[in-house]
Symmetry: none
Subunit: 201 residues, 4 copies
DNA sequence: CATGAATGAGGCTTCATTCAT
DNA sequence: GATGAATGAAGCCTCATTCAT
């Protein structure tokens, strides 16, 4: 009476994971649906049972990535303490996440690049901005908290937050370009210190 | 009866400029040769008189952009003085360049994204790394100079340089995403200060 | 504990009826098996329990339609009388049938169109010709009967029969095209008269 | 300075002619663009230089056919005389046209079938109705003329016109089905007579 | 030199059919 | 028997590139 039962949500995630590895190698532009299908060990047509189009699949990947990242940060930070520590943990957790996902990190840049594009007036990859904006807001809140408590100088909290995230992103780029190793044990600590204390004597 | 004389180099640059505006809108992946041809007001076939392939055209654009950027920086910095001032000028000049090229800035991200890709074992966009590496080296030299002169703390010069550039890149991304306005007069000054002094009291 | 008993023939007819409505809307070319399945409220796979292929399903529909039409005509005509009356009834019954099946009438044209096609040397829709030929023969017989009885002029009976049926078909087409209303009460009568008496004074 | 010069309109017609022969064999549904391309001796991509899509190509064919038919009728009838003669010539010309295009006649039925279909609320094959309606109007005018002049009985001119055309169409169908030979010399004459005089004694 | 008409390789997507449950 | 998840063959269409003019 009933055909094969399948956890569609789970399989969808499976496919996205496989897609991730493909994207990491070839980027989100120079890949073919058949690549994903093969990586996910399913038929070409099966992909379309879970995604309405190539574009939809890419968007799904992006979404999953952001969700994962935010989830990881949230998990690591909830045990936090004072603003300085929170900031350090946030930096540390970001590096951890990057290292943990070192094999699929390259996609971040494609996602960035795509997130600023418009197609027919619509953002090509909606949700990117929102996700990023949210993170900025949270970090800014952290810094503001520190300013209120008198541990941070009265800097522009939002700008500082942006710079912090910008630094992380930039380092990530450099890492992927092979210019910087981000899996060094001491990097997060050094990074935090430089951000917190500046470089002036 | 002499054949029409054409400054091939000049026309090539013309085409690249036109290409730039196309890339800014549609990215370096979602465009067609005909788009470039139309923007440059030449025939489709003509493009192939100046570029051997689509890929070659993209690479040419990337190259031109880097050359422009480096040239601008060099021009602004040669009048420099002590390391702190040099650093400030470098930051200021970068923002200036970004603002000046605000309409085609989006391509930077495609270039980044492309610069980390390999095709058939070869970097898709050779030269990117080298150009970036060179800038890092110069900034690191600046910082090292400052350390030697006793105006900077003995930080890891190379890492600091990377962080500085990473911050700039990251801000650029945010700007393009509409999250940050980089044409504010005070931004470069604030940015330099935050980088130089950190945020700790 | 006995296995569910299903009247396969009945369900088959059910499905065909549903298919009819789908065909009426989208034609016999631009439809998908899933359309039929949904219309018939069965699963996609179930269709293949009753029809060996898409083609088979179409043929089944065609067959059912012809059978219905012939059945209706036969039923209405058996009470007939003299040739003139028979002819009139035949015309009237045809219009009735058309009106009664107004919602699925469009398929007739697909059937016609399909009936003249060959695929791999075989008629795509066998049986169509035979059914039509049979009707022509009967009408011709009717006319011949009338000629013998001296009520019809000695026309070419077979040609006249063809013309009569051709007129009906053509009117049907016009009706479906929205050019003629065939559900007018007076149409059959006028039609018969025009056919019987011509238009010359 | 200029590339190859081509009479696009002429080439378009060429392609349509080739398409006609393909349609006659396989119908307008069961054919592939590559079929047309091969028949027209051009590349697959070339078709898209002249037609925006498969659908557009079909529509173009339909349009050409109608235009041809109307043109032929107009040409033959302009020399006409009284209504009866005009009607006879119209019938004769139609048969002539059918015979002349005997090899591609099958497409008429596909066109008919298609002309009654709607896709997304839009007629699939616009222009069909209009063309047909126009012909009906002209024939009706003819009959009305005859009535006024007292040579025709006071029949419903429009209905009679429809019936005439319906008969022609129906006969065409029968011809294509192999049931009737329409290239007989005497057919037009007999047909006209039957239509004009009816079959009643 | 410049051009755009012609081309066909390549890829996304559809959908009839199968088959495990 | 009934189902719909899975599949891959098939076909439309795009677009980089060529080349005759």
């Amino acid at each position: 009476m009933s055909p094969r039962v399948v956890d569609k949500a789970a399989k969808r995630r499976e496919i996205l994971k496989s897609a991730m590895t493909v994207f990491a190698q070839r980027g989100i532009y120079d890949f073919k649906m058949i690549d994903i299908a093969r990586a996910a060990q399913v038929g070409k047509g099966t992909l379309y049972e879970y995604f309405s189009s190539k574009e939809d699949l890419i968007a799904g990947c992006f979404d999953l990535f952001l969700r994962d990242y935010n989830g990881y940060l949230a998990g690591r930070m909830k045990s936090a303490g004072d603003p300085v520590e929170k900031l350090k943990i946030m930096v540390k957790a970001s590096f951890e996440f990057f290292v943990k996902n070192g094999d699929t990190l390259e996609i971040v840049f494609d996602f960035w690049a795509a997130s600023i594009r418009y197609k027919d007036g619509q953002p090509l990859m909606s949700g990117a901005n929102d996700g990023y904006r949210k993170v900025i807001g949270e970090v800014a809140g952290l810094i503001r908290e520190g300013i209120d408590q008198g541990v941070f100088r009265p800097v522009d909290a939002r700008l500082a937050a942006r710079m912090l995230l910008a630094s992380l992103d930039g380092l990530l780029l450099q890492s992927v370009m092979g210019l910087t190793k981000i899996n060094s044990r001491s990097l997060p600590q050094k990074f935090s210190q430089t951000f917190l204390e500046g470089i002036l004597k």
